[in-house]
Each structure stands twice: as structure tokens, then as C-alpha cells.
Amino acid sequence: MSEPTNTAPNAEFEASLQDDALVQVRRLSISYQRNGKEFRAVDNVSFDLAAGETLGLVGESGSGKTTIGRAILRLLPVADTSMWGSVIYDGIDVAALSKPALRGIRRRLQMIFQDPVSSFNPRRKVPDIVGEGLEIQGIGKAERTELINAALDDVGMSRSLVEGRRPHQFSGGQCQRIAIARALAVGPELIVCDEPVASLDVSVQAHIINLLQDIRETRNLALIFISHDLAVVRNVSDKVAVLYMGKLVEIGPNDALNQHPAHPYTRILLDAVPVAQARQKIVPSADAAQIPSRMMPPSGCRFRSRCPKAQQHCVDVEPELRATPHGQFVACHFPNNQ
């Protein structure tokens, strides 16, 4: 597959990135081969994450957010996938590690999935599931039991509750707690949360969000929180990155994006979020958004086909990430408030 040609050098943005951040993603591009066609899932994405910081990765389907999360943990399928750029964790190039070395750092990077039930082996009992990472690391039974119990305790479930039971005997919220316990048991520094609350009810979601905040504080965890739900991302993140069709369109502090969204897509996303409060009757818009095909992204700025401000320049030239007065970076030729 072809090496991506970087049409947008993003010099200004890249200069702002830190060399000593815990997670450094630099010019990450990932392509899949599907039915003989190449599909660029992630295109030239860079960002930093410091220890103890939470990054919210926001985007709709096809934005590449899940792919980025998997790439950081090196969990992408090997067949038919190509990756360019680098993922550096604590100074180590994750993509270049040999398999044994990769296993060594696995316990520092963990993942929580959207559907916790499918991330459990249905035939295993819950305590074994929670202790799986420890078992793989070769930790002895006695110490393992202690760590399993401690992790279960941290998520508010008692050992006696889960003893001898299998995942299908628990509710969605409880399963997500078990998944979090499993991730915590190995003592990670970074947890990638891939839509962890999307399939949960509102009241359960609140528990899990609060739980994640708690453990994040007590253990100084770095979190990458992938979600399409902006209200949740608003609640949990320090920094937010907005992705559209594999490209990073806006990135910056949570408050900056929330109060002064610079990219038209960020604006549209914020407007589209349903808010549960008394309000005027919504004025519906009759245009159906024409979402371009993922296989053939528009030239220049990918968002131009849906952008109210698009002009000829947007067709010809792909925008670079540039700084805004409020502290974020935006890839747009005509950003808001500029």
C-alpha cells in the first residue's frame, strides 16, 4: 500500500508537542486493505498525553478513533493493515518492539471495551477473568488472589459476589466493573477506554464514569477516552481531540473546545448533542447531510462537503493545524471566531 503523502505538514502544531510526554503519537497513519481497495482509517494524526491526563477522542463512525486506540496498544490485525508514523510510550517505540518485549510492557497499557460481555471469554469464571493478566505475567497464586481481590474492591464488587460465577450472570454495568477490575489488576499507567459507557443505561453510566474518575485520581492514570457522546467526553476529559474521516480537525483543552469551538464540525457536533432540559421547540432542518463515502474522501478539506463555509480554497488545499487564541489547534481555513 502507498505511503501517505503529507499534504498538510502541520509544522506549527508538531512544534507544540512535547518530547517527554508519556504517550507521543506522531504522524500516525493506518490503512486497511479491503476487497482489493485501500481504506485509510487514520491519516497523519499526532498528539501527546501526559501521565495522569485524560484525552477525549471524539468522532463519529469512520473517524478512526477506535483504530487509534487499538494502534496505541498494538492490537491491530497484522494481516492487510499498514501503519506509518510512530507511537512512543515512555520513550519506547511501541510499533518497533519485538513480541517478547511487547509482552513485557503490556501490563502498563490496558484497554476497556464497549461491550464488556464480549470481551470476556464466556466459559471462564469471573475471578479468573480478572486475574488473567496477572496469570500471564507469571504472578503466583497467592499474590494473584490478593491483587484480584484488591481490584474488585476498587470497583465496588466483592470477591464473594463473583466467586464461581460466569459473566453472563451479571448485568452490563457489573460486567463493565469487572472489565475495569481486570485492567486495574495489573497496575497499568494508561487505560484506553473504547466507548466504555455507550451500551449502558444512564444511571449505570453515571456510576461507571464516577468510578473511572476515582481510580484515575487515586492511581494517577492516564486515560484515552474514546466516545461519540460529547456530554460524556466533556465530563471526563482534560484535553479533547476531534476526528473526522481519519483526520485530526481540532485538538485542545476541554474548556476551549467546549466554549469556543473553532472547527465547523466541532460546532455541528455540539449542536447535535441532545440536552435534557426544558427548551424551546427545536427548529428542524430539512437538509439531509450528505456524508461522503469513506473510500473516496473529498479532496482538500475532507469536511468541505458538509461545511456551511466551504469555498474553492477548501477544495484545493488541505488545511493545516493552526493555533487559536483560546489554546487549541484547528485544521480549517476559515475557523470560527478567527
Binding site: 453515571a206 464514569i209 430539512a286
Partner: protein
């Protein structure tokens, strides 16, 4: 307070209850649900999973699982549904009600062209001829925002994205000019911008075609600003019902208040600790005596655990809720609905 007569209402449910027989005894999934829906009104039915909202819709439509015992009275557009046999009910509802389901991937038949799927209902219920049905289908595709409707008429479902498929589903639901459109979690599987498009479309169609609409969802935000009334379900009971704005601004039932507090909001500061609801949703096989929310309610009193609170009604009769210890502290605001209950209008 004047009660509209059944003839004027699009939907009238009275004391609707439903239960299953299981090996371990009967399980009641709907308790004494009453609701009315006027013409050209949008109603939001909200609740978390297990609250009974899908079950309620299925019961009304007669689509409930076999072996379900239903009691109570349902009438649609003045016609009593409870006394109809299944076949007549299906005939009647097919033309009067359009339904849009949650998963557009599985609701459309992947082997049949979409034009034909849209026509099916109109040809069967309205007895339209081939040419008329096709014209109607193309027209409907246009009105739901499918570009190049004439071409797309011949396409198969897999050629469309999720949002487009949902629009096609809506076209299918509209084929018979229904009086009532029910959207059961219709946008749950969609991206947020696509969701807005679909909800906007439903709103436009509702007012243009002068239909009534029911939006069933677990996401309270969806019904804000799009519905006239909302009905909150918990454990198979109606816990609160009223004009949408009023319920959001002034939730009375403790569950509604708790639910609203548990939702993260985009206008809240980052890292706000959400107010959670302790405990777990009720188990239909072991219902708690009294108010279903009492085990989890921070304000519950003794009687909340022992007897089911009656429906209390606010001053103008539009806002009702079933709570002994409601949120508001303005006593003159409401009076009890059923004077037979001794609790009266205190607090």
C-alpha cells in the same frame, strides 16, 4: 378539567397491565398504565432498559410475545383494540400506525429492493395498483431526504448507510398515511449528527402530515424540544407524565429528578461528579411492595415501601406523578387524583 372523549384521541390506554407466565410464577411487566394521545401531538416515552417502554409499545400494537396476558383497555382512533382478534387488529393497525425500529440493519429485508419494501404496505392495506404504489414510494423517498429517489428505488438496503436506511424505514412506515408514527429507539444506533437529521425529519413529517408521534427512548435529551409531553416509566409503572418543558424544569418524581441529575451535560464543568442512583433496577419477578423506586430513593419514607403512591395531579391537570415525597415544595401546586386515598394533598 375536561377529559377528551375517546373519539378525539389518537390513542387511549386505560389501566393497561401485562404479565407473563413463567416456570417460577407470573411476572408482571406493565402495571396499570394509562395514557392518552391527542391528534398532532408528540409524546416521548422514556425509561431505562427493563422499564417496560418497548413492552408497552408491543402490547399496544399486539406484537407482544405469545403467552402474554393483557388486561385493560386500548383504543386507537376511537376503535377498541382489546376486543379485536389478532388478525383484525393487525389489519387495522397496519394502516393506522407506522413503526420505525431501532436497528435499521435488521429491519429491512436485505434481499428485496427498497422500492418494493416501501410499496408492500400500501399495496396490501390501501390496495394500490403497481404504478400508483411506485409513484407513492418514489414520492416518499423524496420526502425522507433520499437523493435521486427514482434511481434509489431499485437499490438494495446494503447500498445505503445506517442513517439512510433509517430514512427508508421511515418511508416504509409512512406508506399508508398513518395517524400515528411510533419510533422505538429509532436513533440509538446512529451517530449523533445523523441522529439529529432523523429526529428533525420525524418532526417535519409529523407536522406536515398532521400525525401523532411517539418517541420511545432511554435518552432523555432526545425528547427535549421535540415532544409535547413525556411519560416516564420505571419498573413497568408510569411514574411521571406531563408537558415536556414542565417535567424537565420541574421534575416531581424522585426518579425523574435522579435520572436528570445522573446525566452528564455538555454545559457542566469538566470532571463534575455525577449524582448517581444507588441500587439496581427492579426485578420484575420480585417486585418490591409499594413504590418501585422506593428501594433506591434517597427521600423514601415508610409508606413508600408499603403502598403504591397514587397519581397526584398538578394544578391544571396536565402534569401527574406517583410519589408520596415529590420534589416540589409548593403545596398549592397540586391535588390528589383519586380522592379515595386518605393521603390527601399534604406537602
Amino acid at each position: 378539567m375536561t377529559t377528551p372523549t375517546s373519539i378525539e384521541l389518537v390513542l387511549d390506554c386505560n389501566s393497561l397491565s401485562a404479565q407473563f407466565r413463567t416456570a417460577s410464577g407470573p411476572i408482571q411487566v406493565l402495571h396499570d398504565i394509562s395514557l392518552t394521545l391527542k391528534p398532532c401531538t408528540a409524546l416521548g416515552i422514556v425509561g431505562e432498559s427493563g422499564a417496560g417502554k418497548s413492552m408497552l409499545i408491543k402490547t399496544i400494537m399486539g406484537l407482544g410475545p405469545a403467552g402474554m396476558q393483557v388486561s385493560g383497555h386500548i383504543s386507537l382512533a376511537g376503535t377498541d383494540l382489546s376486543s379485536m382478534n389478532e388478525r383484525r387488529r393487525r389489519q387495522f393497525l397496519g394502516a393506522k400506525v407506522g413503526m420505525v425500529f431501532q436497528n435499521p440493519m435488521t429491519s429491512l429485508n436485505p434481499f428485496v429492493r427498497i422500492g418494493r419494501q416501501i410499496e408492500e404496505a400500501s399495496r396490501y392495506y390501501l390496495k394500490l395498483g403497481k404504478a400508483d404504489a411506485k409513484a407513492l414510494a418514489v414520492d416518499l423517498l423524496g420526502s425522507v431526504g433520499i437523493p435521486d429517489a427514482t434511481d434509489c428505488y431499485d437499490h438494495f438496503p446494503h447500498q445505503f448507510s445506517g442513517g439512510m436506511k433509517q430514512r427508508i424505514m421511515i418511508a416504509t412506515a409512512l406508506a399508508c398515511q398513518p395517524e400515528l408514527l411510533i419510533a422505538d429507539e429509532a436513533t440509538t444506533a446512529l451517530d449523533v449528527t445523523v441522529q439529529k437529521g432523523i429526529l428533525d425529519l420525524l418532526q417535519i413529517l409529523q407536522s406536515k402530515r398532521r400525525m401523532s408521534m411517539i418517541l420511545v427512548t432511554h435518552n432523555l435529551g432526545i425528547v427535549a424540544g421535540r415532544t409535547d409531553e413525556i411519560l416516564v416509566l420505571y419498573g413497568g409503572h408510569v411514574v411521571e407524565h406531563g408537558p415536556t418543558d414542565v417535567v424537565f424544569a420541574n421534575p416531581r418524581h424522585r426518579y425523574t429528578e435522579a435520572l436528570l441529575g445522573a446525566m452528564p451535560r455538555i454545559d457542566q464543568p469538566a470532571h463534575t461528579t455525577l449524582r448517581t442512583i444507588p441500587g439496581r433496577p427492579p426485578d420484575p419477578a420480585n417486585p418490591a411492595p409499594g413504590c418501585p423506586f422506593a428501594p433506591r430513593c434517597p427521600a423514601a419514607e415508610g409508606r413508600c415501601h408499603s403502598s403504591m403512591p397514587p397519581m397526584t395531579v398538578s394544578g391544571d391537570g396536565a402534569h401527574r406523578f406517583a410519589c408520596y415525597v415529590p420534589v416540589s415544595t409548593h403545596p398549592s401546586d397540586f391535588r390528589p387524583m383519586a380522592p379515595a386515598v386518605a393521603t390527601g394533598a399534604e406537602q
